[in-house]
Symmetry: C2
Subunit: 257 residues, 2 copies
Amino acid sequence: MIPDSYMLDKQAQIQPTTQGKKVECTSCGLANLCIPHGLTTEELNNLDSIVKNKKKLDRDEALFHAGDKITPIYAVRSGSFKTSITSKEGAEQITGFYLPGEIVGLDGLGGIAPSSTAIALETSSVCEIPSLEFDKLCAHNHGLRTSFMQVVSREIAREQQMMMTLGQMSADARLAHFLLTLGLRFKERGYSDVEYNLSMSRHDLANYLGLAVETLSRLFKKFQSSGLVDVKRRSIIIIDYEALCKAANTNCTRKAS
Amino acid sequence: MIPDSYMLDKQAQIQPTTQGKKVECTSCGLANLCIPHGLTTEELNNLDSIVKNKKKLDRDEALFHAGDKITPIYAVRSGSFKTSITSKEGAEQITGFYLPGEIVGLDGLGGIAPSSTAIALETSSVCEIPSLEFDKLCAHNHGLRTSFMQVVSREIAREQQMMMTLGQMSADARLAHFLLTLGLRFKERGYSDVEYNLSMSRHDLANYLGLAVETLSRLFKKFQSSGLVDVKRRSIIIIDYEALCKAANTNCTRKAS
DNA sequence: CGATAAATTGAGTCTCCTCAACGCCAGTGG
DNA sequence: CCACTGGCGTTGAGGAGACTCAATTTATCG
């Protein structure tokens, strides 16, 4: 089954959340992918006490802008986001796509203004974690500090991997690698790693991968006609996993789910 | 005057530090560029109490390896380092160069094994900050937490900028931008921003910038013959700052020092 | 249903890579 | 002192991958 975009919050689909409905980390299905992972019940409750009510955003709405004063950090709850930076000359680089359970805003810690802008790719919601309160909480919760540091480390590692992608890989490998990695992220969230929908436009994806849209389009076509994937607009079905790995220059074997 | 490589620790040049000599953050000339920036005297003393003795490394020696168990973080005290990640297939990407006052090892926080390997580019020394002790200290020092979060944010922002460089810029712009930015980092450390020595090989720089060594070599020659810079092996003299900015596609004006 | 944006396709070009050879410099050992 | 060696950097020739520009098709939305 193909998830309807990245909308993973099934509760929210059934009973649409009003702006302000309190969501508890303790009962959140994404907890293991998010900051709560590995925390004690007490720490979880502490965290719950400062996490602000779910904030809902429409497509193309900004969660925060580069240069904003004091910004909280956000945990994606449903939907998805892109972050991008813009040079003085107007050049844009999309620096990441964020799925439910992932943390946005790590470039705006310690009172520093974020260098990136975060924009919802579809109707999305986030849990807001105010920086001041979070910092206070960190003073008394070792587990929380550790968990957060892990989140930070993974984000840095992800960006390093992206440097590898942009610096060393061919266009083919970039796309193949992206499709495989995105699949794995869906899998972590309980969805298929071989059938999913993209929530970003060709333009956004091309920019993220450092390619021209035309090149990206041709690559999709090439993968399609080589029988690697089935692409229909934003729907992706990975047909030949092994071959896609090979295209990504990665000797990854798909593990049984 | 051209600094002899990145050796900024003049004390160390005069009286070579023995392995184990205690260096105080309180009296460190790099404090303002490092974690100590903005801390109270008390916090500084606390930090001093856990910072381990200076560790000296020769050229090509590793500070830590990708996958190492519990790794401390390190503040570069003298010399310089490169960090790199390696894919399973053996592809390498250099992810950063680190000068005195900068923090290495942020991809290994919270007990996570670092994804990168750090290697000294020349004879260098570092201050070791053990993760456990540092975490404990963070519990009681708001300023320390804030300062560290700022370091983390800047590192993430730096990597995002690198994604922009690799994803959007031409080869010319990449090199020009690198030379300018490196100059600014030297300036922060009290050196000329237009005359300095590179501590990394052409190979390392090319890899970092996502270029072939041959391309890099041709670029240096091109910049040289256009009168932008004077390049002699690893010595760099920026002659036409404005033109170099233009090559970097950046409308930066050089501020008087 | 028409207007606008998104995506695809085609043609031609150029940037940058690859491969190969050569020059330069430092260190080594005879 | 000098040839030898090996790493590092440069130079040249040729080619391929990805870009640009332009036109067309396909979606999206009022």
